[in-house]
């Protein structure tokens, strides 16, 4: 977990800076982070709030970038099905790209898996604490961070670190390439709609190539 924490600190700091730069009050920026606990959802929401987008557009864009949680949720579900609903609500709330990746490795290990939710909880709570502390620092630092530090690039780098291991098969690669091309071609669309178009296109092409390979 230690490397994950080191990566999360600058990312969370950038998310905090972005909330303040978007014109949100410190309370709003901190609430956004404490309740959604997702860097990319926080950043996209901040970008859209900054340009006074309608609430529906802001929420829809955050929803699209968070669709990957559906896949994480489906993979985690069998491992936590034996827990009562309060545990499952808590673990869902704390799920992140990083804790999902850590738990998948953990659940892949042989042995008794019935008590592994304690591992997941410990890892997730540690990340939550570091994340929120860095967001608060970013919210308070706000515009004082010089642009030439390019700290916002830590966000792109975090997603590169998630994207590369997520591309394992040819259909994965095709989905990523098509989504990338569409995200550039549709970049002129308002309200970050390019992200929606690109994601749907990538998923469609991945599915099409995989189903053709099976025939």
């Amino acid at each position: 977990m230690a490397p994950v924490l080191l990566g999360a600190v600058p990312f969370a700091f950038v998310a905090g800076v972005a909330a303040t730069a978007a014109g949100m009050t410190p309370a709003q920026g901190i609430a956004l982070s404490a309740l959604s606990f997702s860097g990319i959802a926080q950043l996209i929401a901040s970008q859209l709030i900054a340009v006074h987008s309608p609430v529906v557009v802001t929420v829809a864009a955050a929803f699209v970038v968070s669709l990957r949680f559906l896949m994480y949720s489906a993979s985690m579900a069998p491992h936590v099905a034996h827990l009562d609903w309060r545990w499952r609500v808590l673990l869902s709330f704390l799920m992140t790209d990083q804790s999902f990746a850590a738990s998948v490795r953990h659940y892949a290990d042989a042995g008794d898996t019935r008590h592994r939710h304690w591992f997941f909880l410990g890892a997730a709570l540690t990340l939550y604490t570091f994340w929120q502390a860095s967001v608060v620092a970013g919210v308070l630092a706000g515009a004082q961070v010089p642009a030439r530090w390019s700290l916002d690039f830590a966000v792109v780098l975090t997603f590169i670190a998630l994207l590369v291991p997520a591309v394992r098969t040819r259909p994965d690669l095709a989905a990523a390439v098509v989504a990338a091309a569409l995200s550039l071609a549709a970049a002129g669309l308002p309200y970050r709609l390019a992200l929606v178009v690109a994601s749907i296109g990538g998923i469609g092409v991945g599915l099409a190539i995989e189903s053709r390979g099976r025939r």
């Binding site: 309740l35 997702s38 970038v65 990957r68 985690m76 830590a154 390439v177 550039l184």
Partner: protein
């Protein structure tokens, strides 16, 4: 006020997506193609976020060798393929960006 409604909406959508299959529905009640499609969500969404960040740092397509973010991004991708380590990837990309910006500022 509308900012608070947006905050609540974003919080609710992220929670509902995370809790979808863990709390509310059994994934096996969905057709096979739907579960297949879920696999392609991370590569698609992540590529759609990463690639414009590298190729359109100022909002317009920039394929010139002076695009420091593109070059630093390539360094990070190679680091990720080689090292399979998130922290090393982020560190390599950040150091590459700072180094390239330093060099480009002196060439300009």
């Amino acid at each position: 006020m509308s900012v608070w409604i947006a905050v609540a909406g974003v919080a609710l959508s992220t929670f509902l997506l995370r809790a979808s299959f863990i709390v509310f529905i059994d994934p096996h009640r969905f057709p096979g193609w739907f579960r297949q499609a879920l696999k392609f969500v991370p590569p698609s969404v992540l590529a759609a976020i990463v690639v414009p960040g590298l190729l359109m740092p100022e909002g317009a397509l920039d394929l010139r060798p002076t695009n420091a973010r593109l070059l630093a991004g390539i360094v990070a991708i190679v680091a990720s393929l080689r090292l399979r380590n998130a922290m090393a990837t982020i560190a390599a990309g950040m150091v590459a960006l700072w180094g390239l910006q330093w060099v480009l500022a002196r060439l300009a």
